[in-house]
Symmetry: C2
Subunit: 221 residues, 2 copies
């Protein structure tokens, strides 16, 4: 795998220099603030992720994350899901991603279930980050679910996306303690910091192709 | 709470000297090897648990853990469950424990579901240890379930026992990494070491009564 140390010079942001472009192209899907998108952008700039950021797509025209992408001079696309059947929407998404040569799709707070149309088009090439140690606390508000359940440890999971919600093979996890004086917000903030560390590492690991699936276990080659 | 540092002199094993007996009395329920029972015995001897071991009860006459209890001069009792309805069996268990003044029941590989008869008789005074980070992987073979699921972290949970299997409020947890070269047995062995550390600590915490329930969260007073 090519390893381009791109530094933090904005002129070397992926996509800006076709001659230095690595082979792998990432598409990021967002619905909201895109804080994990920013972590990915930073990691690409710092050379911790050796791939291009090809496009950032939001289903929500108001997603604040779109501004982060534009600021980093990454192409943005708004594909509003309203009024479209799920599979029709997913077909459009797939077409836009394929058109741009995307090889790895990273979900970063994309609040839509993906249909088999999407999952089959990017087999084992869609990543999601989830704010719990899956399989505990799938679904929304995982941090609050964990806090309310009274666990002493929760964490962050990066996983391959299957058609089952938050159910695909696990690429990376990190535990996060629940402190005695935490409320759910304090816990969520501590989890978010770990998300920003873990997601770029997991993306780079997946891009390296030094892994394979054994059943649903992600193991090193 | 009285704090009797009992040392490792076998003559000071709880129960052997009524004048030094703390107020709290533990009953341990086993079905098998009783490795967590041994950890509890060791912790009582070392003064890390300040309570008497009143009785060890097994539903299985062949449980190797019974020998561990006898060796430590703790009363043992075999209550065979076969041929008894669950609630009838639980009534007998409760009667035997109450007769001995047991204030805290510790399950240590006790392979029976407890009915409300039992759970209601020892409200918030039954502990269980489970080899996963609950709520992930309840039920049997939790270590294998975790390994097969491909999690990167699993762990150990000590929880108060409710009528729901492995579902009561969580007292203590510790994460355990799944290593790249682990098979399920290697993972189970690493988890077991942590069980032996965590269970005595959690028992002593519960005995101290410096906690309360908020919803299902166990929080310090």
């Amino acid at each position: 795998m090519p390893n381009h140390a791109m530094g933090s010079d904005p002129r070397t942001v992926p996509g800006s220099d076709p001659n230095q472009r690595p082979n792998q192209r990432i598409g990021v899907l967002i619905s909201g603030r895109g804080s994990n998108l920013q972590a990915i952008i930073d990691a690409v700039r710092a050379g911790r992720i050796t791939a291009d950021l090809a496009v950032v797509i939001s289903n929500n025209p108001e997603a604040p994350g779109l501004a982060k992408a534009r600021e980093a001079e990454i192409e943005t696309l708004v594909l509003d899901h309203r009024g479209k059947a799920r599979e029709d929407y997913d077909r459009i998404l797939v077409a836009e991603l394929k058109k741009r040569g995307v090889t790895l799709v990273c979900l970063a707070g994309f609040m839509r279930l993906l249909s088999p149309v999407f999952v089959d088009a990017f087999q084992n090439a869609i990543l999601n980050i989830h704010p719990s140690l899956l399989p505990s606390f799938p679904g929304t508000n995982a941090q609050y679910q964990a806090w309310q359940h009274g666990v002493k440890w929760t964490g962050v999971t990066v996983h391959l996306v299957s058609a089952e919600l938050d159910g695909g093979p696990i690429v990376a996890q990190v535990p996060v303690p629940v402190n005695e004086d935490d409320d759910a917000d304090a816990l969520a903030a501590r989890i978010l910091e770990k998300e920003h560390e873990l997601y770029p590492m997991a993306i780079q690991f997946v891009l390296g192709h030094q892994w394979r699936l054994e059943g649903r276990r992600v193991v090193r080659k």
